[in-house]
Symmetry: C2
Subunit: 330 residues, 2 copies
């Protein structure tokens, strides 16, 4: 049943039906009622494919995440979704696995008019590829952003946040602070490492490379292994604290520590990053850097919507505040 059917049933033209469907005011109330009745009885629904073709917009927003099993991303995505829906858009969530190929294929949806805009949370390394050949497409970078990529962005100050974590550990009397970092294809990983190193140096401690481990997947096991290795080194190579760049990693680390008989925080203090909801539930509750996950997502969505509404508008980058949450692990 198409608009033509409704028109016939109501004894009017398709144009009139379209008008009432779109809430135009220039329709006689009586006519409008007749149309509405016909819509009711016929069970008609607009074909948005047709509408979108005509209006040249899909009202679909893409969100590309490297891994949507990660609770951190889940919460950010919630923020995006809320704002999008609030503005009449639907959000299509794409799990790229941080794979440039998949990322490209999703990005193609923009070019093919299947989506109006995109929000990208992928590693800045893969974002760069996009920025080059599609500087013109409407998208914004979220959480992971390179300020001179010329793309609107939102995120936190990772450098300073990492410093805050380290300074907290320092203030607790820890000196040999280890780092469990993630894949340094992520700018955030590199920035947090810088923040960590500088904070240590500023305090007069020379960071040993033996204190650092990279984990190339955000999984618990890998972090557990890394933590166990770290503390089982001899002498001053063995850290008395660990800063993990995500709560997931921190939880794995605590588990790894326990498996080699080290207690947290008595033997080794641990601080995480993100403040996902499990962080407060584990034993000991995790001290961590809280990111405003929901706001991150909401802001990204708003930036994109603004860009969409006025392609010429200069959309700013925005930095959101982080916060140290002290619990018992450090």
């Amino acid at each position: 049943m198409s608009i033509a059917g409704v028109a016939e049933q109501a004894g009017v033209s398709v144009a009139t039906v379209s008008r009432v469907l779109n809430g135009h005011s220039n329709v006689r109330p009586e006519t409008r009622d007749r149309v509405l009745a016909a819509v009711q009885t016929s069970g008609y629904r607009v074909n948005e494919l047709a509408r979108n073709l005509r209006t040249a917009e899909s009202h679909l927003l893409l969100t590309m995440v490297p891994d949507f099993g990660n609770p951190f991303y889940a919460e950010v995505v919630r923020g995006i979704d809320a704002v999008a829906r609030q503005h009449g858009y639907f959000m299509l969530l794409c799990d790229t696995g941080a794979d440039p190929g998949r990322e490209r294929s999703y990005f193609d949806m923009l070019r093919r008019h299947r989506a109006d805009g995109a929000i990208c949370l992928d590693p800045d390394t893969v974002q760069h590829a996009l920025a080059e050949d599609s500087g013109t497409l409407p998208w914004v970078a979220c959480c992971e952003f390179d300020t001179d990529m010329g793309v609107p962005w939102v995120g936190i100050d990772n450098y300073r946040a990492a410093g805050d974590a380290v300074r907290h550990l320092l203030s607790r009397g820890r000196r040999r602070i280890g780092l469990i970092n993630s894949d340094d294809g992520y700018l955030y990983a590199r920035q947090r490492q810088e923040g960590y190193l500088d904070a240590l140096r500023d305090a007069g401690v020379t960071p040993l490379s033996a204190w650092r481990r990279n984990v190339y997947s955000l999984d618990y096991e890998a972090a557990a292994t890394a933590a166990a290795e770290l503390v089982q080194q001899s002498g001053e190579n063995a850290p008395d604290a660990i800063f993990a760049v995500s709560d997931t990693l921190a939880i794995g680390a605590i588990n790894g520590l326990r498996s080699v008989g080290k207690r947290t925080p008595a033997d080794v203090a641990v601080v995480g990053f993100d403040d996902i909801s499990v962080a407060a539930q584990i034993d000991p509750p995790l001290t961590t850097i809280a990111q405003p996950m929901r706001e991150l997502g909401e802001t990204a969505a708003r930036l994109l919507l603004k860009r969409l509404a006025d392609p010429a508008a200069s959309v700013p980058g925005v930095l959101l505040p982080h916060r140290l949450v002290v619990r018992l692990s450090a």
Copy 2:
């Protein structure tokens, strides 16, 4: 730049361009090359809106989850996504918050031809509303299913799985087994409760209602409170074990137990449900019923795809096996 532009540039008709774009064989190689070249230089991309309007399909699949912050759903969704993409479909993830209104509005996307099919993980109570006025729309129920709703489904045997959990506790010598259940708007919640009750009775123990708590949001705090209340009752009202119908709840429960000085499993054994990845990481590692999350999603997607390929085909319901994973919490 549209297909017409390419046609002009290549000196052929739009039909020919369409043919090479769609890989039809009846095009002279030389012509095809000319077209391809024009596509290249012009940077043309199909407008899928137009294509979809013409072919009357969107190649979009909807997945409706009640809460996509829940790691359990995340993993199921991964399975759906993988199969969908493998078959040339994109998956649109919708967080309904188990709200019938939002659910309806997403479902409307099917009626409006924005999506070809849907997979629904929402409570069976809200599914029923859908089944009534849209028995004809292509959708399948996943995890949460009512076998006589006339909709293809996939899930596990919740009744038996809950029984297995309880029997395990029984075999460990626990008799006063508590239940932390979720919102009984979910069929799975009601089924697991039945399984729990029957297993207890079969073992000759009379389940006290004082042993049971419902938690209406899947969050840690609520579960923690429930667990604390449960064990602080007097006499035989205080359970010596708790079966929680999800790992999230179980983790919260263990935390609640700890907060009132009860150790797990020494004082109170705990078994969870789902086997999400944190389950193995907490202290003590969680004994739980593992659901084949990924397969659940993959199967749902396959059922839907089958239904789409042949609307007349009778699509079966499928029951996937669960598994008791014994760790240290019980």
